[in-house]
Symmetry: C2
Subunit: 387 residues, 2 copies
């Protein structure tokens, strides 16, 4: 049976391990520590640093495919591994688009994918010029390393733009700016693609963000026209094909109203791995994103993306300000008592405010009731009391 080496040992690798076990595979992990989320639950763990070529070489030795639970492995190391015969999926030419927000936007513009107006920001003058060009609707982003609202700023006026950009450039942060869209909501279009070129897009979901962190996903996105859903799925397929993505690709989308008041979409971010907005597939879809990712990077045929319920809601469990006195096990019991159909997923992580420590999937017939119940379940797991 094939061995997949996964670089990184967070919750995404942990949930890949779950699926790998069932299909008889062996996951090899490169983990930073023995108690990291995935390392707790795997037998074949290499401890090392993903920025160190020698550690990477140890982790990928003999693996049939190498993949990732984050985008931060230096692409030069990946090119070296490929030159040594290692099967890296997705490859560095695709991955660079998930590492650098400016590179990604340029590439998407090239292939005709919709993105909000953007500019490279290499000076205060660049920033001020962009501010004027978009009538002050500026979103400033670090080109690399941002996540969960980190590395994104919304300066309020021209003075704040200048001061912020000066400070960030001084600190060595490469920057870009984007026109802030008038958001209706956020969507996520996910697709898996194999090296042979097979693609399988999942239903498009609505993604709810709170303070820049995904807190909820609703599948399929309520009230989305079939026409726009089809456009979003096709956009994800096109991006995967044009950028040469293999494995799972998440295309985070803005839904906004165009000048005529029509619903339209533009790309916000890309992730080339399983993604928070795809966790619902574990319990609401024939093939979960984690199984599909493993199949895709091994160039196996992809699984059915049929849903198994009319609606599935994923609610994130984010560490609260304090950790409740009631142990997590008893909190789970309370949730299961009230919602026997709740699927709780926990990552083996200790409490820290705002940290993603788990999620709840709940399937049902009624969108609003399912959302209310999923949120209530997640709230109890965080706070140890009902909302």
């Amino acid at each position: 049976m094939p061995v997949v080496a996964v670089i990184g040992a967070g919750q995404l690798a942990r949930m890949m391990q779950t699926e790998a076990i069932e299909v008889g595979q062996s996951i090899r992990l490169l983990a930073g520590a023995t108690d990291s989320s995935a390392a707790q639950v795997a037998a074949d763990v290499i401890i090392g640093d993903y920025t160190d070529l020698e550690d990477l070489r140890r982790a990928v030795d003999g693996a049939d495919a190498v993949t990732f639970d984050h985008e931060h492995v230096p692409t030069e190391h990946l090119r070296t591994l490929i030159s040594e015969g290692v099967n890296v999926q997705p490859g560095p030419d695709a991955l660079v688009n998930a590492q650098d927000k400016l590179v990604m936007r340029k590439r998407l513009r090239e292939i005709g994918a919709p993105v909000p107006p953007f500019a490279a920001i290499e000076s205060v003058e660049d920033a001020e010029a962009f501010f004027d060009a978009v009538d002050g609707a500026v979103c400033l982003k670090a080109r690399r390393g941002g996540y969960d609202g980190h590395g994104v700023w919304f300066p309020k006026d021209r003075g704040e733009v200048g001061a912020l950009v000066a400070k960030l450039l001084e600190a060595g942060t490469p920057l870009m700016a984007e026109k802030k869209v008038t958001l209706v909501r956020e969507l996520s279009a996910m697709v898996a693609r194999t090296p042979s070129g097979e693609v399988a897009p999942w239903p498009v979901v609505e993604s709810v963000q709170t303070d820049g962190i995904c807190t909820e996903a609703v599948a399929p996105a309520p009230g989305l026209s079939e026409q726009l859903a089809q456009r979003a799925r096709q956009l994800a397929v096109t991006i995967a094909e044009e950028l040469g993505v293999t494995g799972v690709l998440a295309v985070e989308l803005f839904e906004f109203e165009d000048a005529n008041g029509q619903a339209d979409i533009a790309v916000n971010e890309l992730a080339m791995r399983p993604h928070n907005t795809g966790h619902w597939t574990q319990d609401g879809c024939v093939t979960s994103q984690f199984e599909q990712h493993l199949r895709a990077v091994l160039d196996y045929p992809l699984g059915s993306v049929d849903t198994t319920a009319p609606v599935t809601v994923m609610a994130n469990v984010l560490g609260g300000d304090t950790d409740p006195a009631e142990p997590m096990g008893r909190r789970m019991a309370q949730v299961w008592q009230r919602f026997p159909q709740a699927k709780i997923h926990l990552y083996g992580k200790t409490h820290r405010p705002g940290r993603k420590i788990g999620h709840v999937n709940l399937s049902g017939d009624d969108v609003e009731q399912t959302r209310i119940d999923a949120r209530a379940a997640a709230h109890y797991l965080v706070h140890g009391r009902w909302a």
Copy 2:
């Protein structure tokens, strides 16, 4: 988070590990070898012998609950552990009924559960008398240790009964005999029960046996009247309650025609752990038997046993006479190519004729087509060619 110690490291423990990972738990395994099915995929593995009290003590140290992937742990050791404060689920008073077929049948008769006529066999004379009493319709069984058709004999005449019983008693095999029923088919009624007394019976399934080995399970059992299904579920609940079973209980049933030609049921065997006829729950039910078993032994509220598809068929993958030249990974690819909705589960076991090395779950709308497809998928995984 609680730690569950599992004694035994076969495929049942492996599939418990899958579910444990998702709910944030840590499974501790007592395994006979580092390459056993579950030990391949777990981080916390104690190597030892389940008949050795010291090894058991090492494995259960600090665990919140202790459970099993087989019934063969000596009950005297379990009693010792309990006296030392260990939380053993299910306990030895229940387990003895899954260890000794004669003890079980006596107990079931006591509580009014239907069982075919039976007798203890301690001499050739006992056997001949039973042969006469049931007009030659004799099934001879080893009281302990039988599985998958091993330890069961169907002697054809009085002379064969005598010779067989003499030989087996001489070899020290404790025996019992049972009247062979005129079988319509086999069914399986499964239920989970917590130490607090909550019960959750799954839909009753049809179980297909070939040469004494389960090869297929169809959920729910096609054409079973709701009345008989309800009786079977209630029977499983009653047995769980009367015998004090905790965790998952499988009640294997004979369906036969009574003297009036009416469909009736009798108990064949009991298993006090997840069971082959419950594997379909992984992909056809909100809560799988493996998650439910962990929840039950930890005395958590039980999960929903609602189905997620009109029909789910489980087909076992049993090692064929030879191992095909095509590697298992490529065989999986062929199956997925033809059946994108097939859920393949493999146990990390090497080929041996007749050995259970995996199973396929397939859900659909049409019972017959789903059976045909599930069998075809399993056949390919075994033989590397379509039937």
